[in-house]
Symmetry: C2
Subunit: 184 residues, 2 copies
C-alpha cells in the first residue's frame, strides 16, 4: 500500500515541518525550544512533531522536564534512496484498476442493451471496444464468417468494419482462403 508514501510526503509538505527537520538535523531540540524558534505555540509544534513521528522521521525521549526530539537520519537516507525506485513507483501504479480505461470507453459507447452507439474514431478507443467485443468469442473455437457476423451484429450493424479491425488489431485471426476465424 502506498499509504506510507503519502504519509511521508504529507509529513514534509509544510514549511514549518521542514524547518523542524532542518533544525533537528543540527541537533536535538525540545518542543519548547522549537516553538520559540519557529514562533509557534507549543501545542502547534506538538502537532507537527506527531505528524513527523507518524512518518518515523523523528523520535523523542524524556529528559528532565522536556521531551527532546531527534531526527531519524536512517529513515531519511533510506527514504531518499528508495522513494523513487522502480519497484516503489510500480507498486503505486499497481493500485490503479488497469481495466478502468477500457471499462469507461465501453460504457461511454454502449447503449443500455449492450450494443454500440457508434464505433470510435480514435485508435485507442477503438482498440478498447474491440478488446471488449472479442470476449464474445470462445478461445480455441473456430467460426465461419457468417457466424462471426451474426455475433458482431449484436454490437453494431457495421460488422464488416468490426471484423476487419479485429483482425487488424490481431485480436482474431483468419485462415487464408476458407473464411474461418478464431480468437487469439
Amino acid at each position: 500500500m502506498s499509504e506510507e508514501l503519502v504519509t511521508f510526503f504529507k509529513a514534509l509538505a509544510d514549511s514549518n515541518r521542514l524547518k523542524i527537520v532542518g533544525l533537528l538535523a543540527e541537533k536535538p531540540y525540545s518542543v519548547e525550544e522549537l516553538a520559540a524558534l519557529l514562533q509557534l505555540k507549543p501545542s502547534t509544534v506538538s502537532h507537527h512533531l506527531s505528524k513527523l513521528a507518524e512518518a518515523e522521521l523523528v523520535s523523542s525521549h524524556a529528559e528532565s522536564y522536556y521531551s527532546v526530539y531527534q531526527l531519524d537520519q536512517k529513515m531519511l537516507e533510506q527514504k531518499s534512496r528508495s522513494m523513487f525506485s522502480q519497484t516503489e513507483l510500480s507498486s503505486v501504479a499497481a493500485e490503479v484498476d488497469a481495466d478502468a480505461y477500457d471499462n469507461k470507453v465501453v460504457k461511454d459507447y454502449s447503449k443500455r442493451d449492450g450494443s454500440l452507439k457508434t464505433l470510435p474514431a480514435q485508435r485507442k478507443k477503438l482498440e478498447a471496444i474491440l478488446r471488449h467485443v472479442v470476449k464474445a468469442f470462445e478461445m480455441g473455437k473456430r467460426y465461419s464468417e457468417k457466424r462471426v457476423n451474426e455475433i458482431l451484429s449484436q454490437y453494431h450493424e457495421d460488422t464488416a468494419t468490426l471484423r476487419r479491425e479485429l483482425v487488424g488489431f490481431k485480436l482474431m485471426q483468419r485462415e487464408g482462403g476458407g473464411g474461418e476465424y478464431w480468437r487469439v
Copy 2:
C-alpha cells in the same frame, strides 16, 4: 528559499497524484486516460497535473486531440539525491530566526521596565538571560566589582548570583585578585 521544496513535497502529498506519477513512470498518458484509470473527472486530473508540472515533475506536449503528459525522470532523480543533503537541510534551518529562543526567554522573564521577574531555574533559560544581560557591558572595557553590581542591579537584586553565573558561563571574566571584570 525552501518554497521550492515545499512545492515539491506538496505535489506528491496526495494519493491520486502519486498514482499519476506511478503511471507516468511506465509510459506517457493523456489526461483523458489518466482520468479513466483513476476514476476522476478530467478537470480534476488537469488540476493535479498542473500541480505536478509546477514542481517540474511532469511536462506535456500536444498530440492530435490529446495533451500527453510524461514524467520528468531527471527531476525525480535529482530531487531524491539532493533533497536531504546537508546543504539543503541547513539552508532550510537557516530560515529560522536563531535569536528567537533567547528573545522569547528574555521576554517571558522581563517586566515592563526591563528588570527580571525571577532568575530561571533551567540552565538553558538562564544562559539565554545571561546572554541578554551581558550586553549591558561594553566589549574590551574593565569594570570594578562595585560597578558590575550597579549595572546588574537594574536587572535583578540578586547581583551576586548574576555575577557568578556570568563568569561561570564564560560570558565575563575576572582578574585573579584585583576584582576587575570584563566581557569576553
